[in-house]
């Protein structure tokens, strides 16, 4: 168990990189607290796996340092770091039994057989692999194989952290849920530091104490699932988290209000003043927070309802504002909505302003 600290860490696969776009991972300072579960969330190719491989030691970063409990491990090989990693595709040793697979990391470290037996039995019970210990790992299903990969990480008592690289990609949907719950149990029982890479926001939200959103090699926001939902600090977070994602409208400023196609939308106090001087302004609001009215009220804007999608337990309504902009509104299932004219209210407490893609607070 360890606290993992990244100091001015950056990585480029090209030697002598200087421009920011040459970097797979741009300079970051970051602390992973001991015993917490983190999710690294981001689209494919954003640098999540690079970051994970740097933490595990499979990759040596081109710039900066990694500290485990204050000790510099930047140049140490993975086997010297006491770290476990579970990969996207289950890695098992074909010729070995499940027992030998689980025992492998311990035997490589010359742990005595009695201790090996105790650890393997405990981990196998935890992961419900007890019944297949004597079987050859090759013939098992993908979920059992992934449990074995996970077990090889858990079996070492001295492990500092477990890193997961999209471990549920190849697992059937109905088993995904079970395995995710298993992971959560493992985390609660052993209080291990866990870093979980995924591009699936539901997975990230259910697994982690804190979600770290990575975009184009940078950490754009870290926080609890609730923070990410209510207060995205970057337009990418707004767009990536939530289904459907946040609505964004290009706007200008006029006093305390935002101007969208000449329509005034009120903002929270003082926000407009802090955004002065930015070149590109956008207004953002979650579909969940927009209010739709059937007749004009104070502070509403006229819109045209285009399309109503009924998704079973809620509705997604697409409306057109001021001729060019489309917005999506999420409404309860039982709320009747007719095509045609309607009025939309932007509650100021949920209306966010973004200057050059960053939240204005």
């Amino acid at each position: 168990m360890a606290r993992i600290e990244l100091k001015k860490l950056a990585h480029s696969y090209k030697p002598g990189a200087s421009r920011p776009e040459d970097f797979a991972l741009r300079e970051m300072d970051h602390v992973w607290e001991d015993g917490k579960a983190y999710a690294l969330l981001g689209p494919s190719g954003c640098g999540k796996t690079t970051l994970l491989n740097i933490i595990s030691g499979l990759l040596t970063p081109s710039h900066g340092q990694i500290l485990f409990d204050g000790k510099d491990v930047t140049r140490l090989a993975p086997q010297e770091r006491n770290i476990a990693q579970v990969f996207q595709f289950p890695v098992i040793y074909d010729t070995m039994t499940v027992y030998d697979n689980l025992a492998f990391p311990l035997r490589n470290r010359k742990v005595d057989e009695a201790e090996v037996h105790a650890r393997v039995t405990e981990v196998a019970d935890m992961l419900e692999l007890g019944g297949v210990l004597k079987k050859r790992a090759k013939g098992l299903g993908a979920d059992a194989k992934q449990k074995i990969s996970m077990g090889r990480g858990l079996v070492r008592s001295d492990v500092s952290a477990i890193l997961f690289d999209e471990p549920l990609t190849v697992i059937d949907p109905h088993l995904k849920w079970l395995l995710r719950r298993k992971l959560k149990q493992v985390h609660e029982r052993y209080a291990l530091t866990m870093v979980y890479v995924t591009h699936d926001q539901v997975e990230a939200m259910t697994f982690a104490d804190e979600v770290v959103v990575v975009y184009e090699g940078q950490v754009v926001q870290r926080g609890t699932p609730q923070e990410l939902f209510e207060k995205p600090r970057h337009t990418f977070v707004g767009y990536f988290i939530g289904s459907p994602g946040m609505n964004f409208l290009p706007c200008r400023l006029d006093g305390h209000c935002a101007l969208v196609d000449g329509q005034r939308i009120p903002l929270a106090d003082g926000v407009a003043a802090r955004a002065a001087g930015a070149t590109r302004l956008e207004l953002g609001i979650r579909p969940e927070f927009l209010q739709l009215a059937e007749r004009p009220e104070d502070g509403t804007l006229p819109v045209l309802v285009h399309q109503v999608e009924d998704l079973g337990n809620f509705k997604i309504v697409t409306v057109q504002l001021g001729g060019r902009h489309e917005l999506r509104v999420k409404l309860p299932e039982d709320r009747p909505v007719a095509n045609g004219r309607a009025w939309l209210r932007f509650p100021p407490e949920w209306t966010r302003l973004y200057a050059d893609a960053l939240l204005v607070e």
Binding site: N53, S56, G57, L58, A77, P78, Q79, I83, A84, Q85, F87, Q88, F89, V91, Y93, D94, T95, M96, F104, P105, N108, R109, R136, S149, R152, G153
Partner: protein, 287 residues
């Protein structure tokens, strides 16, 4: 579920049956035909039953040739398989050197068998060949035309030079197909270099190794052209392998009956060994 009985399946098997019949079964049957008859001249032939088989099986010269052949194939497999694996393991997996290595390895495989024999025949001569000259300059008394041991070693080295590439290329194909995650997981699990070879690389190469062992066994067991050119089976009978002996019998002395009986036995031996290797390797590592 009830089985559906549909005799049409026979028609689907028919093309394969025809191809195999014309390419293998019918030619084999003509050999069977020769093996049970004594053909005195084109008009006169006598049915002799298993006489030729008995005669061939009791032939001491054939026993010697068979032993030599087994020893040779054993040596070929014992050297070429580990050496091929070692070469494959030490080859680069990416970068510009990959193509260079592959071309270099493929070169010996492109040379016709009898040319290989000629190359080594000249290479091994002490008067005009580089290899022979270097050996005698080093003070080693080397003469493959006079010493049975030298002849033997020359044939063996020649085969290793000619065919190890095949094993190496097959193993290399097996190795590059292993996903990186296996090596990464092994590093995290703290596996030694030997453990990586034993538990990841070797099991993943099993499929191509079966092919390599079978091909090298069958080919070395039927070796003909190279020793024919290089040593002509000599000195004495030192490098007379089974196919040399068979050719001498069938084409040289025109003893078609015994030669046919011998061919069939030869065929059965190869079939038996191939089956043994195949089952042994595919069952390796099973419960």
């Amino acid at each position: 579920m009830d089985k559906i009985i549909n005799q049409k399946a026979w028609f689907l098997v028919l093309p394969v049956l025809l191809v195999v019949a014309f390419s293998a079964i019918i030619p084999l049957m003509t050999v069977v035909n020769y093996s049970v008859q004594d053909i005195l001249d084109p008009q006169t032939r006598v049915f002799v039953g298993t006489e030729w088989f008995q005669q061939v099986l009791r032939d001491p010269r054939l026993h010697d040739a068979l032993l030599r052949q087994l020893l040779f194939s054993g040596c070929v497999l014992g050297i070429e398989i580990p050496l091929g694996i070692a070469i494959a393991l030490s080859m680069p997996t990416r970068g510009a050197w990959v193509s260079a290595c592959l071309v270099l390895l493929a070169l010996p495989l492109l040379i016709p068998f009898n040319v290989v024999g000629t190359i080594w025949q000249i290479f091994g001569r002490a008067d005009i060949g580089l290899g022979g000259a270097v050996l005698s300059w080093l003070g080693i008394d080397y003469n493959y035309t006079a010493s049975p041991l030298d002849a033997w070693l020359t044939v063996l080295v020649m085969d290793v030079w000619h065919w190890t590439s095949l094993v190496a290329l097959l193993c290399y194909a097996g190795l590059v197909a292993i996903p990186d995650a296996y090596y990464q997981a092994a590093r995290i699990d703290g596996a030694s270099r030997w453990a990586v070879f034993r538990y990841i690389q070797l099991p993943k190469m099993k499929g191509v190794l079966v092919i390599a062992v079978l091909l090298r066994f069958m080919d070395s067991f039927m070796i003909y052209a190279e020793p024919f050119v290089l040593t002509g089976g000599g000195p004495g009978n030192a490098t007379t392998f089974l196919s040399q002996y068979l050719t001498a019998m069938a084409v040289g002395q025109f003893d078609l009956g015994p030669a046919a009986a011998f061919s069939l036995i030869y065929f059965l031996i190869i079939l038996l060994f191939s089956w043994v290797f195949y089952t042994a390797i595919t069952n390796m590592g099973k419960e």
